[in-house]
């Protein structure tokens, strides 16, 4: 076990709340994943209680994004056991998809559509009310630019729209990969109620920036994921 913010070479280190509850929101036991010959995750074991935040730290290429993609049901684990919101993955992935919000490196928005069109499309996929789209773009300060094609927006604006997409369906579990990347301080403040501590969701964040990320964590007892 490592101290928060320290790094073992090539290994992401997680910091968060270690207290085990009978029904964690995320429970991993010996999780492993490889891309061909290259092992990206090995023997990852952790538990995250509902409503808590877990921060996973590690250098680029340590497997943080892969971990989030497995939890989001986008990747199959190759070893071990993953249980999310009381459902086994990947077998019961269908049962948790609408309850997870993934903010990935890519915004997962069509560049040729406007922000509002993208969010409307997502709202229909997730069964969220269309009024939520207007409410969210307003809250992240994008109401004026939401009708422009995504390809014409700055990276920070696209990130704000991606955050809207992530929380559109009020997910119980937020999987946030470098959530404040490309955001200026004012924009970070705007999105804080949506994906921050006060959002009310269980959060799993990844970062390669220990100083900034540790300031945003929930509790400080560390976890280490070996990769």
């Amino acid at each position: 076990m490592a101290a928060p913010g320290t790094e073992a070479a090539g290994r992401p280190i997680a910091a968060g709340d270690a207290r085990r509850e009978p029904d964690p929101a995320v429970e991993l036991d010996g999780l492993g994943r490889a891309y061909g010959e290259r092992v990206v995750l090995r023997d990852v074991t952790l538990a995250l209680e509902p409503g808590r935040t877990l921060l996973v730290l590690g250098p680029n290429g340590a497997g943080k994004s892969t971990l989030l993609r497995i939890l989001a049901t986008l990747l199959r684990p190759h070893a071990g056991r993953a249980r999310v919101l009381a459902h086994e993955l990947p077998r019961e992935g269908w049962a948790v998809r609408g309850r997870i919000g993934l903010l990935a490196h890519e915004p997962l928005l069509y560049r040729d559509l406007s922000g509002r069109e993208n969010l409307r499309y997502q709202a229909r996929l997730f069964g969220a009310p269309e009024a939520r789209v207007g409410e969210l773009v307003e809250r992240v300060g994008m109401a004026r630019r939401a009708d422009e094609p995504v390809r014409t927006l700055s990276r920070g604006m696209v990130q704000r729209l991606a955050i809207c997409r992530t929380v559109l369906h009020r997910p119980e579990l937020l999987l946030l990969d470098e959530p404040l990347a490309n955001l200026d301080p004012a924009a970070a403040e705007l999105v804080e109620p949506l994906i921050g501590r006060t959002a009310g969701a269980t959060r799993l964040l990844t970062s390669h920036d220990p100083a900034g990320a540790l300031a945003r964590r929930s509790r400080s007892r560390p976890w280490r994921c070996s990769a």
């Binding site: 986008l74 997870i100 997502q122 996929l125």
Partner: protein, 199 residues
Amino acid sequence: MALFSLTTFVIFHFGLHRTSLSGDLAAGVLWVTLLFAAMLGVNRLFVAEHEQGGFDAFLLAPVDRSALLVAKAAALFAYLVIVELVAVPAFFLLLAGPSPGQALPDLLWILLLADLGVAVVGTLTSALAIQTRARDLIGPLTALPLLIPVVIAGARATEPLLGANGAGAVPLKWAAILGLYDVVFALLSYAVFDFLLED
């Protein structure tokens, strides 16, 4: 796709150096041209999803993943119909003589039957190819062999329609083979599409 079909017919028109085609040659030219035009659409079918993260965005949603198969196959089917609205008149004008009236009604339903098969198989192979680095090569390499039965059945079914002495009756055997092909590949695609989307 439509432009490709027109250009190909023009090339055949000058390359074959004949004022009009009929029978098996006409049917062959029509079906091969439409098939290669369809390949252009097949290759582009999932590009936006792959390059802009639409795949992941869709896979995260609590919806039946087969909806993507149905939506993409329907879109490809619509593209094929639009292409044929341009290509078939051009074919008659440039290669098959100017009097398609007799052949047209039967030709249309044969084309629609074939479009259904091309749309389903094209969507399946496109979803497979898009996951690979050499998608422009893998797409046609997997789709074309699977679509050979469509070309054979389509060409045999339309051959009598394009006869030099006017349109004959459509051989129902070949039309039935097209229909059977559509059903088999629609069921097969529905069964395996989920697995193609998983990493």
